[in-house]
């Protein structure tokens, strides 16, 4: 369970988050649909531990994340604005190295993941550089999926994705939630997640 209590965050001299409270329980997804510039990305980056709140706490499984940072990060899959892929490596190589730092996915697992995001047709030596932005996004989604993490923090996951890509994303999310996973998604458009535990949050002023 992810809990945010009385979180205050400043960015430069802007007071972005004022006393934010939030809980996310297993199987739940929360879609942040805040207007631009109100701190969606900053909130995700604060939960991930990149940014430090002025006041308040982020707790994971009841423990402050600054106390058990590495354990928390092993439960976390973060997808930021940048796909974090190396342009000179193939999709499979990228995934192999990315998982090599955490759980070491096998080659069949990687192929299966690429199949699930609809990229099974890639040549094995095709560098990511030659993929479209949408295809690169799919590779990044495959990494999120392969990391086998409990909590997904996705920043604009649907950016550059076509209709079938968005469908794949929703399917992945449904399965993740069905298995007791949690997700926090920053987006400008609500994803059609097929879950009764999906909440939408349209502005930082109201409570989710």
């Amino acid at each position: 369970m992810l809990e945010l209590s009385d979180l205050h965050l400043w960015r430069g001299d802007r007071h972005l988050l004022r006393g934010l409270n939030l809980t996310l329980a297993p199987g739940q997804v929360l879609q942040l649909l805040w207007p631009n510039g109100t701190g969606k990305t900053s909130l995700l980056r604060t939960i991930a531990g990149f940014m430090h709140p002025e006041a308040g706490q982020v707790r994971w499984k009841g423990q402050d994340i600054t106390a058990g940072r590495d354990a928390f990060h092993l439960d976390l899959a973060y997808l930021g604005h940048e796909p974090a892929l190396k342009a000179d490596l193939s999709a499979a190589e990228n995934l192999r190295f990315a998982t090599g730092m955490r759980n070491g996915a096998s080659i069949p697992q990687i192929h299966d993941a690429l199949l699930q995001v609809g990229l099974s047709g890639l040549r094995s030596d095709q560098p990511v550089r030659s993929l479209s932005a949408g295809q690169q996004r799919r590779v990044a989604l495959a990494r999120v999926f392969l990391w086998d993490a409990n909590l997904w923090l996705l920043d604009e996951p649907a950016a550059n994705l076509d209709a079938s890509g968005q469908q794949i994303l929703c399917d992945l999310l449904d399965r993740h939630l069905g298995g007791g996973g949690m997700a926090l998604i920053a987006a400008h458009q609500a994803l059609a997640v097929d879950s009764s535990l999906c909440r939408l949050w349209r502005s930082p002023a109201e409570q989710p």
């Binding site: 400043w10 430069g12 001299d13 430090h52």
Partner: protein
Amino acid sequence: MSWAWFHRFGSPPYFYRVAGILVPWFAWPAAILIFVGLTWGLVIAPPDRLQSDAYRIIFVHVPNSWLSLMSYSAMAIAAAVGLIWRIKVGHAVAAAIAPAGATFTAVSLLTGMLWGQPMWGTYWAWDPRIVFELIMLFFFLGYIALRNAIDDVSRADRSSAVLAIVGAVNVPIVHYSVIWWNSLHQAPSVLRVNGPSMPLAMLAPLLVSFLGFTCYFFAVMLVRARAEVLRRERGGDWIREAVAGST
């Protein structure tokens, strides 16, 4: 509980107020002591047996050299406090010290060069203390440059704090290496003023001037640190009250 004072002093409004009270307590002694020390040293103290009047530059040179190293240590400690305990006042103090420290270092170098001309017959000798002082100047300039290069104040604070701490670890190593380097390349023929055997008539004005410059350091540091605190807290509500109260 014993740490309460530490966190209280780390609160920007408290620091701003206390620093404001302390400023005159350093500024006036600084003005008086520097005036007394320099008049005494430059006019009243007897000329040196070997260097006649040329030695008088030590009344400026020595306090500035001392303050150069002291500034760097103080800056690194303040930066470390800011970084480790996330205390903004620490960063503000470090930011306030940097330009002052760079100035002390530059003055120390310049007066050292001026002193070198009558003593060694040249403005620049590769004396280890001068070389060390020059490297200190680069440490300060690098710190200031890094701070200026990062737009976001809080990131600039924290990045430059890492640099200050790395620099502080390096200062003794640089100092040692420069002395080692010099001992190999140059005969230790440099004429030195022997500190402890200095006559009291010279030592007393040096101490007064030394105290004066140190008070000056604290006064400048506090004034600048208050400004830095204001810059970091410009969104805060307490500032309106503080400014309204002072006018």
